[in-house]
């Protein structure tokens, strides 16, 4: 499992576009928003938590089709399926690799972008916390979507259509944590709900991903 993880990480770093692309996309979306709504600080700081969350979600979405598609095309996914490692484990490791290359950089970059969006000082902790607890769910749900569409040519658009509704609860709680934090309110309840969603999806969705991968490899 560790070998698979390091392989995926190495591929993401060396093949180009893995690490940097999601992050740059995150940056660009956040930078575009002030052009769209105007540079008023009060307005920007009000919408900052939501914009950061939606941008993080879109950045995650962008790199989803890389999780299984390349391995499916060159046949390494067949080898992984016949290896002693259970396919559930493969799905979980792939999601973890996606999180390390996309989710974690987003978490680390969020405070800097918060600065650009003139996020109130009390909002920095909560936005990092909410992304830290929320992005694993985004990666695992995304891996399920990627497993569903792996056999489809040009499945990228379909992938977004399938995955975005599944992202809704994560987005609701994540943005709520960030918003409450920015307004200086107590954000424990939505944070716990968010952590609950992440834990549940981490535990259950790899099984669903493995099931649909088996169907697609048939």
């Amino acid at each position: 499992m560790i070998a698979l993880l390091t392989r995926d990480l190495r591929l993401a770093m060396r093949a180009g576009g893995g690490f940097g692309l999601g992050l740059s996309f995150f940056l660009i979306v956040v930078v575009l928003v002030p052009f769209g709504v105007g540079p008023e600080t009060a307005l920007l700081s009000k919408i900052a938590p939501g914009v950061l969350w939606v941008a993080a979600l879109l950045a995650c979405l962008l790199s989803l089709d890389r999780i299984f598609a390349l391995d499916f095309e060159d046949g390494s996914l067949d080898l992984l399926a016949t290896s002693p490692l259970p396919l559930e484990g493969v799905a979980a490791v792939k999601a973890l690799a996606h999180w390390l290359t996309t989710g974690l950089p987003l978490v680390l970059a969020a405070p800097v972008l918060g600065l650009l969006m003139s996020l109130p000082a009390s909002g920095f902790g909560p936005i990092v916390l909410s992304l830290l607890f929320g992005t694993p769910a985004l990666s695992v749900i995304g891996a399920f979507g990627a497993a569903l569409t792996v056999g489809i040519k040009r499945g990228g658009l379909l992938l977004s259509l399938l995955v975005l509704p599944l992202y809704m609860p994560t987005l609701i709680f994540g943005a709520e944590v960030a918003r409450r934090g920015a307004e200086g309110q107590d954000y424990m309840t939505p944070l716990l709900m968010l952590a609950g969603i992440s834990a549940a999806t981490l535990a259950l969705l790899p099984f669903a991903s493995a099931t649909v991968l088996r169907v697609n490899l048939r």
């Binding site: 399938l162 169907v215 697609n216």
Partner: protein
């Protein structure tokens, strides 16, 4: 007593459903005409809402069906996964567009009612929002069916999507409660509550609900049978090409 699972045989399913199809269709027509005419012309106007209350006869049944059709798809998907009966998967496929249209009808009639009553076509109310999310789920489900060529693969993948989607749809339903306060009134047709809508409105509404259910059954029957025939034709053509 014949087993229910006999209807997993496409031939048996088609024979039986084609026999009951005209009855279901005509019953749906009668219920629609009866319920809507009764509701529109022979019930009093509400003392506060005036005649706009009558949109309720379409809004409530379509909203009920939108949810129940998803539940029906969930059950048939489970049957497909567990027992691999093709009719079951095809019925789920046949039901999805009907469910999507019901969701749209509920959303549109709600907007038409909301404009004079709430002063707005749309509000980010939990019920409205979860219905919009449900509509997105229907769209994704249908798009996945359409995107995959192989029938069995498509049935498997959409079934799993339906199961996972149901969990997330339910989760969204309660998450949006947390996210925003509601403008929509509470359920007005619960079976277990004292305060329900008055009987004068209740009986025609029941007839309308029956009409919607019958219409749905008729549509699913005809769509499933069409799909079975289309598959049989494809199989025959493929055999001919090989021969």
């Amino acid at each position: 007593m014949a087993s229910f699972w006999e209807y997993a045989n496409p031939l048996k399913f088609m024979r039986t459903t084609e026999r009951i199809f005209p009855f279901v269709t005509w019953a749906a027509v009668v219920c629609f005409l009866g319920g809507l005419i009764w509701g529109f012309f022979f019930t009093p106007d509400d003392y506060r809402q005036g005649s706009t209350v009558k949109i309720f006869y379409i809004h409530v049944p379509s909203a009920m069906m939108a949810i129940n059709i998803w539940v029906m798809m969930l059950v048939t998907s489970l049957v497909w996964i567990v027992r691999r009966h093709h009719v079951s998967a095809l019925a789920a496929r046949a039901a999805a567009p009907v469910g999507a249209v019901m969701t749209l009808v509920a959303l549109f009639t709600g907007a038409i009612w909301g404009q004079p009553m709430w002063g707005t076509w749309w509000a980010w109310d939990p019920r409205l929002t979860s219905f919009l999310i449900l509509f997105l789920f229907y769209l994704g489900y249908m798009a996945l069916w359409a995107a995959i060529d192989d029938d069995d693969t498509a049935a498997d993948l959409t079934s799993v999507l339906c199961l996972v989607g149901s969990v997330f749809a339910l989760l969204s339903r309660y998450a949006v409660n947390f996210w925003n306060q509601g403008l929509h009134q509470a359920a007005s047709l619960s079976l277990d509550k004292e305060e329900n809508v008055a009987d004068v409105f209740w009986y025609p509404a029941l007839v309308c609900i029956a009409g919607f259910v019958l219409l749905f059954v008729a549509l699913v029957i005809i769509r499933t049978n069409t799909e079975i025939r289309a598959r049989r034709m494809r199989a025959l053509l493929a055999r001919e090409r090989q021969a």
